[in-house]
């Protein structure tokens, strides 16, 4: 309320009183009396001892984007009776109430508890409830006090992730542990890798008898490719100007979901994964293994915001966190400068896989149907092909991801295409 009702009432009362006294007109003095009684009643009814305590309960504190959280706020009156109490929970941006009300106007007797329950749908993010403001007033609302009560709570909303199969990762160097990435070295495995001279101790079933028949003096043994774990660095672009958004629908959310799905799937295959996100701030999660690392990466992704602090891919940081020869998965809509950076990383012997959410197809979904839209899409696609071409020419696997298509389907297509082009042999260690 902009104008205090108390001030208005006081002004009217005094005006009638002064005019009545000044002009010696009892009618005007009589008119002032109901206002005076109203005022005094408000004074009499005003709560004198305010003591309230608030407690917040959340049914879940960790959930995935699009999930629903039930919030319960309890307010206990430990002071005198309150005639009118307005409790309104300040919702952090990103929460959408689906059931119940986040506010209530009620009256509260001493010792009574007011309970407020509502459900809210949440988008990705980390939400923190801090204090709750309680407006307390007399019955006539002439004097209102605001009490700020601590009622803390936090919700981590992690991005949605799907398990991807057959992500074509081919780093130059792998780790010593067993994994699912072809290690470019012979040993115990399934896929045929090559042939070498027979060495004492080789099993007879390893001997390549066909080759031995052509060379009667020498025996040869088959080698199989070792499947090993590897270092994988996820590089997520969080620069604001690279991403389109239409209302609450943002291309960045698709990129975050892709990062989460890749992290989940690559960690699930026993690899060591780290995350470097750049945009608002440089956010890095040092490489690690297992479910705990997945949780760390998901938490980092949950709290990620778009920003414009960085203009380019931070190449020095990539080389700092991920050793040359390891796999780098870059998730970015890409610009010409990014392509140059990725080519430089490739030149430093990083095996780069690019997952690029396509801004053109994303924008296409949000435009009105018609000829201009189709034409614009064609032009945008041609531009994008030109943008991506240097990457493909350099042998960098690039997934130009139409975000209307599920990521797992897009990755399976990429894997089919990669099978023909990826070199199996390299400088293995």
């Amino acid at each position: 309320m902009i104008l205090s009702r108390l001030v208005l009432l006081a002004v009217l009362f005094y005006a009638l009183l002064l005019v009545g006294l000044g002009s010696l007109r009892s009618e005007l003095l009589a008119l002032a009396l109901p206002l005076g009684v109203y005022w005094l009643a408000s004074l009499w009814l005003a709560p004198h001892r305010l003591k309230l305590s608030a407690r917040r309960t959340l049914d879940v504190t960790h959930l995935t984007a699009g999930g629903t959280v039930e919030v319960q706020l309890e307010l206990e009156n430990q002071g005198s009776a309150i005639d009118a109490l307005w409790l309104r929970d300040a919702l952090p941006p990103g929460l959408e109430v689906t059931a119940g009300q986040p506010g209530r106007l009620a009256t509260l007797r001493p010792g009574e508890t007011l309970s407020l329950v509502y459900s809210a749908r949440v988008a990705r993010g980390v939400y923190a409830y801090d204090n709750v403001d309680v407006h307390v007033s007399d019955d006539f609302g002439l004097a209102t006090s605001v009490l700020r009560l601590p009622a803390e709570g936090a919700i981590s909303v992690l991005p949605q992730a799907v398990r991807l199969r057959g992500i074509p990762l081919r780093p130059y160097y792998t780790l010593g542990y067993h994994g699912a990435i072809p290690a470019r070295r012979g040993g115990a495995g399934v896929a045929f890798y090559g042939v070498r001279d027979y060495q004492p101790g080789d099993a007879l079933r390893q001997v390549n008898w066909r080759l031995g028949a052509r060379h009667p003096d020498v025996l040869y043994s088959n080698e199989f490719q070792v499947d090993a774990a590897a270092d994988v660095g996820l590089l997520l672009d969080a620069r604001r100007d690279r991403y389109l958004s239409f209302g609450s629908d943002s291309l960045f959310e698709a990129a975050v979901q892709a990062a989460a799905s890749l992290a989940l799937s690559i960690l699930g295959e026993g690899n060591r994964v780290g995350l470097l996100a750049f945009g608002h701030i440089l956010s890095w999660t040092l490489p690690g293994y297992g479910k705990l690392q997945a949780e760390r990466i998901f938490q980092a992704l949950a709290s990620l915001h778009l920003g414009n602090m960085q203009n380019e891919i931070p190449e020095p940081l990539v080389t700092h966190f991920f050793r040359p020869g390891s796999q780098v998965v870059a998730i970015s809509p890409l610009t010409r400068w990014d392509v140059m950076s990725l080519l430089r990383l490739h030149a430093r012997r990083y095996n780069v896989l690019v997952v690029s959410p396509d801004p053109a197809s994303f924008e296409y979904q949000h435009l009105a149907p018609g000829t201009p839209r189709e034409l614009a899409l064609r032009i945008a696609r041609l531009e994008r092909q030109q943008l991506i071409r240097p990457l493909r020419r350099a042998g960098i696997l690039t997934l130009d991801w139409d975000v209307a298509q599920p990521l797992d389907q897009a990755v399976s297509v990429l894997q089919r295409n990669a099978g023909a082009t990826l070199p199996l042999r390299g400088g293995g260690s």
Binding site: I2, L3, V19, S23, G36, L105, G141
Partner: protein, 171 residues
């Protein structure tokens, strides 16, 4: 909310009706300004509730009170003017409550609404009673006593206002 709207309509009708009645047996040209003010005030109160504008509600109440005061000043029946003032106060209170309900966007607590109505009724009855008593009583006070009385009234109400304002965040 329906009962609130009904009561508001009733109180606004009463405020206007009492003013018209105060101008009877014939509505003189001298009463027209006060009736005009009252009509604008009542309209502003309705618009304030409709458009959720607190400032309009305040202005409407001021106009309705001013209309009652003007009618009393010009010699209309004072008791009916007092009744119109009480009805205006009721209308303003109901509009303020309606605005609060709209602001909170919550269904009204029936206990709160009933108690507020009860207290408003008592306050209006007391206010009207005191006003009517004031119109009947004839006291002969000297200037000094009158000044002292006025000073005491102003002091006590100022103190109460200071107390309430300390509590009121809206100042």
């Amino acid at each position: 909310m329906k009962s609130l709207y009904r009561l508001l309509a009733l109180s606004l009708s009463a405020a206007l009706g009492f003013l018209v009645a105060a101008s009877l047996p014939f509505v003189a040209a001298t009463s027209l300004p006060s009736l005009f003010l009252a009509a604008i005030g009542a309209s502003l109160l309705v618009i304030a509730l409709w458009k959720q504008l607190d400032l309009l509600a305040a202005l409407g109440f001021v106009l309705l009170t001013a209309a009652a005061g003007l009618a009393a000043w010009r010699g209309s029946q004072p008791l009916l003017c007092l009744s119109s003032g009480c009805a205006s106060l009721a209308a303003w209170d109901l509009v303020s409550f309606g605005l609060l309900l709209r602001l909170t966007a919550t269904p009204p607590d029936s206990r709160l609404f009933k108690r507020r109505l009860l207290r408003l009724g008592i306050v209006l009855l007391c206010g009207w009673g005191f006003g009517a008593l004031a119109l009947q009583l004839k006291l002969h006070l000297g200037f000094g006593a009158l000044l002292l009385l006025a000073f005491l009234v102003v002091l006590s109400l100022s103190l109460s206002m200071m107390y309430l304002r300390r509590r009121d965040v809206r100042g």
